[in-house]
Symmetry: C2
Subunit: 351 residues, 2 copies
């Protein structure tokens, strides 16, 4: 079923204001979630609104929270999220990093007392709109194991970056540091299928092709083995250790843990103002040249295109504005259940 | 065969001064290369000195080069390497990033007109010595393919970070963005062994278990598929696009291409002064706590330890100072050949 982006945003705003979020904060959150859905990243869009609302009702996400900059210097800031919705704190932090970058060339904003922030890529793209390179990352409740360990060690700690281009589309990469998303393992379990032996480990910490143990006894594997584990620690350091946020086993799950508890998530945002270092036009021309050269390279047998990171997402977004967003069944189910819980009819926006 | 670190450094210094490098620059280079060997990262240590010397003699690395900061702002700088040895330009750039971080909290230094800089981890660790988080990365001649492409698309673009700790060892990760190093493929080819089907692609850009096509017709695969490809583009952007360096297909090989040519490598260094954001002691205590908690997690069946990134390298380094560095055969062969070429007897330092 399809939905117009604007109508979906309106549904998100109405839902959030019904549970006590201010209109301004509801608009910000709707913009983050629906942009994510226009990219086709449905795992991190409005599907999760039901979970956020549960946590708002429980008190673990605070409706009257006021995230703010609690310490700052010429090129850095620390933001305390006051347990607001992660999107509110994260947009504030990315804007702060951009303001620092505008004055200093580069800016870092670290975040503590946040919650799940949705898709990291959204915040990286905020920087692109002002001809900056954007970087976003966060820690999360452990779900990914480490070489030599059994059970979860680190979160799926995502990393996103975005680079402004001229005639070409901005480059965006938004990746978890696990080999695959937990959702892929659940999907295989639901279909009673085996999985490749490098996706999860079993209760002994050993490779398995059985998806049913995750997440109760097993854990996801880090992407590229020790490299992904190490890179996730880098993200944990900038998002958690340096910010005063909860780290590793001390971060709670925004979806599974008691909704009255604050999750303690940390995050980190970096903006680099390319205009400090060369003209924005020259930079974007260099990015365009790189993109065009990559597009023109010889293709693998059976391949018709070499995609830049984010290229598929931008194409889906253009299509979504023309045809509407084609929501997958699991997203619609989540929205319907949410609609019942808050007393809003989601059918009026689905066609 | 074994060698003392100090004697190996002296050999590097003598070699480089013999081919026209200043004593100061030779010392810096020796420190980078021998530190790398003490970590056991023999692929990036003195083994490569012979190749650097060939390029110095050819003129592609300039003996009288003067790398310098050519543009700067409060938290950033651009360094032109003037085609010096990559280690000279890179240590200058990391020191510059650290000076910027000291004043602003975070500092970025981009590099152009550099050459192969050895192990990225060395520069990241420079920051740790002043209680800063260090990040180092560079681009390189393409050797790694991209999803949908045939042949090399991007360099093995390494990324390193280092984090200061208190009682524990600093965390260091130094990783290429390819699945495996080219050296592993060459080693399998030399032994006439097959390789796992996700290490390289063949002339059609398709997976192969035959190592013999690389690098002439095939290419390495990016780590974790599209994630490693995307992350390598991030490194290309900060190291090459933003710095004015050569990018992708325009970077030359420091070892294979005509030694009279300048390779045009770019690099990027970021330092974050944790002391701007919290006391250095508090930060290091938080890092120690994270490390200790990771160490104490349940082990996988058959595993006795959970290693932090860099932990094995620090243990090897301690052992190297006690017992000497145990150089592998390929490193000794390279040193012997180099000794003959420059008229120095390497046997006097081997025991």
């Amino acid at each position: 079923m399809k939905v117009h982006a604007k109508e979906l945003e309106q549904f998100v705003i109405e839902t959030l204001t019904k549970v006590g979020i201010s209109e301004t904060d509801a608009r910000t959150t709707a913009e983050v979630l629906v942009t994510t859905d226009t990219w086709g990243t449905f795992t991190h869009g409005v599907k999760n609104l039901r979970g956020y609302v549960r946590r708002i009702k429980g008190g673990g996400i605070r409706t009257r929270a006021v995230p703010k900059v609690v310490a700052e210097g010429p090129a850095w800031a620390l933001v305390d999220g006051d347990s607001a919705l992660g999107m509110i704190t994260s947009t504030l932090a990315m804007r702060t990093a951009m303001a620092k970058a505008k004055n200093s060339g580069i800016g870092y904003a670290g975040v503590r007392n946040s919650c799940h922030f949705g898709a990291a890529g959204y915040y990286a793209v905020m920087a692109v709109k002002e001809d900056m390179i954007g970087i976003a990352m966060c820690n999360d409740v452990p779900s990914v194991t480490a070489p030599g360990a059994r059970g979860p060690v680190l979160g799926s700690n995502p990393f996103a970056f975005a680079v402004p281009a001229g005639k070409e589309k901005p480059i965006i990469l938004d990746m978890a540091t696990s080999t695959v998303a937990g959702g892929k393992v659940f999907a295989a379990a639901a279909l009673e299928k085996k999985i490749p032996d490098h996706w999860v480990v079993d209760a002994d910490g050993l490779p398995t092709t059985d998806p049913t143990g995750y997440p109760h006894t097993g854990a996801l594997t880090p992407m590229a083995g020790h490299k992904g584990y190490g890179f996730a620690l880098f993200i944990e350091t900038l998002s958690g250790v340096l910010t005063g946020a909860a780290i590793t086993q001390h971060v709670l799950s925004w979806s599974f843990d008691d909704p009255s508890l604050r999750t303690g998530h940390g995050a980190a945002f970096i903006a680099i103002d390319v205009k400090a270092m060369m003209s924005g036009d020259k930079f974007k021309q260099r990015v365009d040249q790189m993109i065009q050269e990559l597009h023109e390279l010889p293709k693998a047998k059976g391949s018709e295109r070499i995609f830049l990171p984010g290229e598929m997402e931008w194409e889906r977004r253009e299509k979504a504005f023309v045809d509407g967003i084609e929501l997958p069944e699991d997203v619609i189910m989540s929205l319907r259940a949410l609609g019942e819980e808050v007393g809003l009819d989601v059918n009026r926006i689905l066609r």
